[in-house]
C-alpha cells in the first residue's frame, strides 16, 4: 500500500512536471546593439528604452503565440561604446554565440552597415533607424540573395522626411516674417549622416522655391561663431540647423547672440527640451521631431507612449522621440511571427513583413514597408512663439508623393 502511494505520488509529480514543461514559455532571443556610452549615447539610449518598453508590454500581454507555442521576448542588450569594432564583436556574439532571431540597432550608418554584413549571411533580421540606409537599400541589395535582404529601415525615406519638414517649416514661418522667405542656409555637421540628410533637404527647400546655401561644420565643433558670422553675412531669411540635436543645442544660443537670422529651424530638437532648457528667442523658431514630438504630442496614444517610456527611467533628451522609430517594429515583427507560425523561418518573416501593415504609435496611418524595406510616415513640425519657451504651435506634415527635381530618391 505504501509502495502504491509512493508510486502514485511520483506519477503525479511527473505529470505535474510534464504539464509545467508543456506550458512553459519559450524564449524569443532578440538582440539590441546601441551606444549606452560614448558620443552616440543620446541616440543609443532611445533604442534601448524603446526595446525595454516593447518587450515588457509584449511579455505582460502573455508573449507571442507562434504556432502552438508561446514565446516571451528575451532581450540581449549590448553597449557598442560608440565603437565600430565593439559593434561588430557584439553582433558576432548575438548572432553566433547567442543565436538571436533579430537585432534592433544601431544608431549610426557606418555601424549599421557593418553589422548588416554579419546579420545578412546569418539570416538574422535587422531593424535600423538610419535613414541614410536609403543610400544602399536598392533592388539588388534587398533581393533574396542581397546583403540587405534581412535589413529594414524603420525611418522614412529621407526625401519624404525632408519634403514634409521643408513644407512644414516654411508654412509656419512665412506668416511670421515681414516678407516671404526666399533665402535659406542649411547648417549641418560634415559627417556621413549630415552629408546624406542635407543632400535631400537642400533639394526639398529648393523645390519650395528657396535659394539655398549649404554650410558644413566639422563634427564635434563647439565654437560655431566663425561659421555663424559667415552665415550672417549671407543675409539669410532662415537658418536651418539640420541634423544632430546635440550640436544644434550648442550652436543655436551662439546664433541668437550673434543675431544671425530673422528666423530659425532646429532639426531634431523636441519642444520638450526647448521648454526644459528655458530657451527663448526674440524671433520665430521652428523645430521638428523624428517622427513626433514628446514635448507636444499630437496624438493621445503618443502621449501615453512617452509617459510609459519616461516612466521606465528613460532620459528626456533632444532625441527621445527617436525611440518611436524602434518601438512599433517589435509589435509588427511579433505579428509577422504569429502569422508565419514559426520563429526559424526568416525568409517567411521577411516576406510577411513586406506584405503586411501595422498600425502603431508612430503614425495614425498603418505602416507599410516598400520594396526597399522602408516605411512612410509624416513629420511633426512645431513653432515656438517669440520670447516664450512653452507656447508651441504644431502641425503634422504628410510627405510629398514623389522626390523633388534633382533628388534620385536614394
Amino acid at each position: 500500500m505504501r509502495q502504491l502511494g509512493l508510486g502514485l505520488a511520483m506519477a503525479a509529480a511527473g505529470l505535474a512536471m510534464a504539464l509545467q514543461t508543456a506550458n512553459a514559455d519559450e524564449e524569443l532571443p532578440i538582440g539590441v546593439i546601441a551606444a549606452q556610452s560614448g558620443s552616440f549615447v543620446s541616440a543609443g539610449n532611445t533604442i534601448v528604452g524603446a526595446a525595454n518598453l516593447a518587450a515588457q508590454q509584449i511579455n505582460d500581454a502573455g508573449g507571442i503565440k507562434v504556432g502552438d507555442k508561446t514565446y516571451k521576448v528575451k532581450l540581449y542588450i549590448r553597449d557598442n561604446r560608440t565603437d565600430v569594432n565593439v559593434t561588430i564583436a557584439a553582433a558576432r556574439e548575438l548572432v553566433n554565440d547567442i543565436g538571436v532571431k533579430a537585432i534592433w540597432g544601431t544608431e549610426t550608418h557606418d555601424f549599421s552597415v557593418s553589422m548588416a554584413k554579419i546579420t545578412g549571411p546569418a539570416k538574422v533580421l535587422q531593424f535600423s533607424g538610419n535613414s541614410s540606409l536609403g543610400a544602399v537599400l536598392d533592388d539588388k541589395a534587398v533581393a533574396e540573395d542581397g546583403w540587405l535582404h534581412y535589413a529594414f529601415q524603420s525611418e522614412p525615406q529621407e526625401w519624404q522626411r525632408s519634403g514634409s519638414t521643408a513644407k512644414g517649416v516654411l508654412s509656419l514661418l512665412t506668416p511670421q516674417l515681414k516678407s516671404p522667405p526666399r533665402h535659406s542656409v542649411v547648417f549641418v555637421g560634415n559627417d556621413a549622416t549630415g552629408q546624406y540628410l542635407s543632400s535631400h533637404y537642400v533639394k526639398a527647400l529648393e523645390a519650395e522655391g528657396q535659394k539655398v546655401d549649404l554650410v558644413q561644420y566639422p563634427p564635434d565643433t563647439t565654437d560655431f561663431s566663425p561659421l555663424l558670422t559667415r552665415i550672417k553675412g549671407m543675409k539669410p531669411d532662415i537658418v536651418h540647423f539640420w541634423y544632430n540635436g546635440d550640436s544644434t543645442l550648442t550652436a543655436f544660443p551662439q546664433a541668437l547672440k550673434l543675431g544671425v537670422a530673422p528666423s530659425y529651424f532646429l532639426f531634431g530638437v523636441d519642444p520638450g527640451i526647448y521648454q526644459e532648457r528655458s530657451l527663448k528667442a526674440d524671433v520665430p523658431v521652428t523645430m521638428s521631431c523624428v517622427p513626433v514630438c514628446w514635448g507636444s504630442s499630437p496624438y493621445p496614444e503618443v502621449k501615453q507612449y512617452f509617459d510609459k517610456y519616461f516612466g521606465l527611467g528613460a532620459a528626456k533628451g533632444p532625441q527621445s522621440s527617436v525611440s518611436l522609430l524602434y518601438y512599433d517594429y517589435f509589435f509588427w515583427y511579433a505579428k509577422a511571427l504569429e502569422k508565419v507560425g514559426k520563429i526559424d523561418d526568416p525568409d517567411a518573416v521577411v516576406a510577411e513583413l513586406l506584405k503586411s501593415d501595422y498600425k502603431g504609435v508612430v503614425s495614425p496611418v498603418p505602416l507599410v514597408f516598400n520594396k526597399h524595406h522602408q516605411v512612410t510616415f509624416a513629420t511633426e513640425v512645431c513653432m515656438v512663439e517669440p520670447n516664450t519657451s512653452d507656447q508651441f504651435k504644431c502641425a503634422v506634415e504628410q510627405p510629398p508623393a514623389a522626390p523633388p527635381p534633382g533628388d534620385n530618391g536614394g
Binding site: 569594432n85 557584439a90 558576432r92 557606418d110 557593418s114 559627417d191
Partner: protein, 361 residues
C-alpha cells in the same frame, strides 16, 4: 624578449678618448642588464604562437574572437610604428591615416576596378609605403615634436579629403567591399579563418620586425636614434635610412589597413582620424616600442581592457591616461620592459638563492 634594449644606457656617456665609431658601437649595443637567453626567447615565441593558434579552439566565443582580430590587425600597424619609433626614434601621431591610405586604396581598387583582397593588397601596401616616405620628407629637416605635429596635420587633412572626396572616396559615408577572396578550401567568411588570416599577417610582421631589429640595418637605425649627428659623421646615410624605415612602417600600416577593411567590410573617414592615431601612439608606448612583443602587448591592453573591466569610453580614456602615466613613471620602456625586468629579477633571485643554498650545503 628584447628586440633591442638600450634603455639602460643612453646618450653617449662614453669614456673620454673613445673614438666616434666605438662610441657608436657602445650606444647601439644591446644594453639590457641581463640579455634573455636564446632558449627563453625560443620558448616564449613557441608558447605565444601556440596560444595564438589555439585561441579559436578555446571556446571563448565569437565576441572574444572578434576583438582578438581587431587586436591583431592593430598590432600589425603598431609593428610599423614600433620600428620607426622604437628603432629609429621617429614618433608619429598620424599612423591611423597611414593605415587609412592602405584601406582606402584597397577599397577604391575594389569599387572602381573590381580588385579583390589578394590583388589589391600589394598595391595598397606599396601606396602606404610611398605615402609614408612622402610624409617622412620633413623629417630630413625637422624632428621630434615638429614631425609629430606634421603627422597630426596629415591625419586631419586625410580625413578632410576623404570626407569631401565625393563618390570616389564615398565621402563621409565611406566605402563597402565584399569578403576576402577565398583560397582553395578556405572561406574567409568563417570568423576563425579570418582570424588565422590576420594571425598569419601578424607572424609575418613579427618575423620582419625581429629580422630588422637584429640586422645591420636595425643597428644603423638605432645609431640614428641615439645620435643622428654621430651616425652621420661615421658615414651613415641618415636621410635615406629615415625615409627607408618610414616606408617600411608604411608597408606594415598598409597591410593592417587592408586587413581592417576586409574585416569590417565597410570603412569611413572617422576610422582614420585623430583619435585612432592617438590610440596607436598610446598602445605602442604602453607596450614598449623597443621590445619585440611590445606592440602586441599594447594592442592587447587597449583592446581588451574595456572588455575585461567593462569600461565605457570615458572610463577607458581615464584608465589609458593613468596607465600611460604609470608606464612613463615606473616603466619607461613600456610593459614589455616591465615583464622582462620581472623575469630578470626572478631569475636573479633564483640564481642567488640556488648559489646560497649550495654554499650552505
Amino acid at each position: 624578449m628584447p628586440m633591442t634594449d638600450n634603455s639602460a644606457g643612453k646618450t653617449g656617456a662614453a669614456p673620454e678618448g673613445v673614438r666616434a665609431r666605438d662610441r657608436l658601437a657602445l650606444l647601439t649595443a644591446d644594453n639590457a642588464a641581463v640579455p634573455l637567453p636564446a632558449g627563453v626567447q625560443a620558448i616564449t615565441a613557441i608558447l605565444l604562437a601556440v596560444l595564438l593558434i589555439a585561441l579559436p579552439w578555446l571556446g571563448l566565443g565569437y565576441r572574444f574572437l572578434s576583438i582578438a582580430i581587431t587586436t591583431l590587425y592593430t598590432a600589425i600597424g603598431l609593428y610599423g610604428l614600433g620600428l620607426q619609433f622604437g628603432q629609429a626614434g621617429i614618433m608619429s601621431v598620424g599612423h591611423a591615416a597611414l593605415m587609412g591610405v592602405g584601406a582606402y586604396a584597397s577599397a577604391i581598387l575594389s569599387v572602381q576596378l573590381g580588385f579583390g583582397f589578394w590583388t589589391s593588397l600589394p598595391f595598397a601596401m606599396a601606396l602606404s609605403a610611398i605615402v609614408g616616405g612622402v610624409i617622412g620628407l620633413p623629417t630630413l629637416r625637422v624632428g621630434g615634436q615638429h614631425y609629430i605635429i606634421i603627422t597630426f596635420c596629415f591625419c586631419a587633412l586625410f580625413v578632410v579629403v576623404l570626407t569631401n572626396g565625393g563618390t570616389f572616396t564615398g565621402s563621409a559615408t565611406g566605402l563597402d567591399v565584399g569578403s576576402v577572396t577565398p583560397l582553395p578550401g578556405i572561406n574567409f567568411d568563417k570568423l576563425s579563418n579570418n582570424y588565422y588570416l590576420v594571425l598569419a599577417a601578424l607572424f609575418l610582421a613579427l618575423s620582419a620586425t625581429y629580422l630588422i631589429g637584429n640586422s645591420r640595418y636595425g643597428r644603423t637605425l638605432r645609431a640614428i636614434r641615439e645620435n643622428e649627428q654621430l651616425a652621420r659623421s661615421v658615414g651613415i646615410n641618415v636621410d635615406l635610412h629615415k625615409l627607408g624605415v618610414l616606408m617600411v612602417s608604411g608597408l606594415f600600416a598598409g597591410l593592417a589597413g587592408v586587413l581592417q577593411l576586409y574585416y569590417l567590410r565597410h570603412i569611413s573617414p572617422t576610422l582614420f582620424g585623430a583619435f585612432p592615431s592617438l590610440y596607436l601612439a598610446l598602445m605602442v608606448m604602453l607596450g614598449g616600442a623597443r621590445y619585440l612583443y611590445g606592440p602586441l602587448i599594447g594592442a592587447v591592453i587597449v583592446n581588451f581592457l574595456p572588455e575585461v573591466l567593462n569600461l565605457d569610453p570615458v572610463d577607458s580614456r581615464i584608465a589609458y591616461g593613468v596607465c600611460l602615466l604609470l608606464v612613463i613613471l615606473l616603466l619607461p620602456g613600456g610593459v614589455g620592459a616591465g615583464i622582462k625586468n620581472v623575469y630578470c629579477a626572478v631569475r636573479g633571485g633564483l640564481e642567488k638563492q640556488g648559489g646560497g643554498t649550495n654554499g650552505r650545503a
